[in-house]
Amino acid sequence: MPLLPILQYPDERLKQVSQPVEHFDDELRAFIADLEQTMRAGPGGVGIAAPQVGRFQRIAIVDVSSKPNIEHHGRLILINPEITEWDGMKIGREGCMSVPDYTGNVIRAEKIRITARDEFGTSQSYDMHGYEARAVQHEVDHLDGLLFLDRLVSRRNDLFQRKVYK
């Protein structure tokens, strides 16, 4: 199984909106296997989206199980994912295999509910929070042509919004 080359910003194609998957066949599953291997080959990669390797279909993989002390659902294949509920907001630091050598603060929903199909076309639903929910939101953004660079917030003053209250 080959590792797939990762598109890197400023490649215009990363800004493209990906299309829904219609056929859940062996070709799709072979691609997902390659995509997963590519994700796991990256240092510390906990998620990947198909457009990052130049396939503009709504496919993402998330697996945060390597991180200590967090709740998670293990290896998630998310095809045509829809986030249906959001709750809470939290700042966290993100980076991206498509944006090497840069990390920045991004606000994401703390809890989400997501529905998606798996690689066999079966509909699944997950309630998740924290780090795993952040990873899913990062990957779903890729499917809509958004990078974490589009959502950066200032590093400064995240504890105090304003210095003087009058």
Binding site: G92, L159, F160, K163
Partner: protein, 174 residues
């Protein structure tokens, strides 16, 4: 061959400093690297990496015209650039409290003792003139782990009467 320099410019804040400095550097054939530009008190401060195809003296001459016109003090050092090797911080610390002498020294000495390396430090004096408060945000890496840093900060809070907040951040790469 092009070399990297660190330019330091400091002066009373006024409109147009960044655009005038950047314009002069661009016209002089410089490339800009990483920078920190910030208003501190009523001063504007620039720390800026510049790639320049010439000697330090020539760069100083190039910048001194614009620095003089904007009343900025100028300092230039030759540096190693080391771009594309960002160190990712894993701990963020906030310290705040009534402003008084020695907070930064005490906190940072304590942090050094437990192997905490500062990558980024920003601080503000806020509050009012009669009741100033000091707010400091630090990001860095902990060679001896989170718990050691947390323990020393708890001691700092008690001994120095400052509030400290520490959080771990696990940068998500996706």
């Amino acid at each position: 061959m092009s070399k990297w320099y660190m330019l330091t410019l400091v002066g009373k804040d006024r409109p147009g400093i960044v655009s005038h400095v950047a314009g002069a550097l661009y016209e002089g054939g410089c490339n800009l690297g990483e920078a920190s530009m910030m208003r501190l008190g009523g001063n504007f401060t620039i720390m800026l990496m510049v790639k320049f195809d010439g000697k330090q003296k020539q760069l100083e001459e190039l910048v001194s015209t614009v620095a003089d016109s904007m009343a900025l003090k100028l300092h230039v050092d030759a540096i190693d650039a080391e771009l594309h090797h960002h160190v990712i911080p894993d701990i963020r610390i906030s310290v705040y409290g009534a402003d008084r002498a020695g907070i930064v020294a005490k906190v940072t000495q304590a942090l050094e003792e437990v192997g905490f390396n500062i990558l980024d430090l920003e601080s503000d004096v806020a509050g009012t003139e009669d009741k100033p408060i000091y707010i400091m945000h630090i990001e860095g890496t902990a060679s001896e782990g989170f718990d050691a840093v947390k323990a020393i900060l708890d001691i700092m809070s008690k001994e120095e009467g400052v509030d400290t907040k520490i959080s771990r951040f696990d940068t998500l790469i996706g």
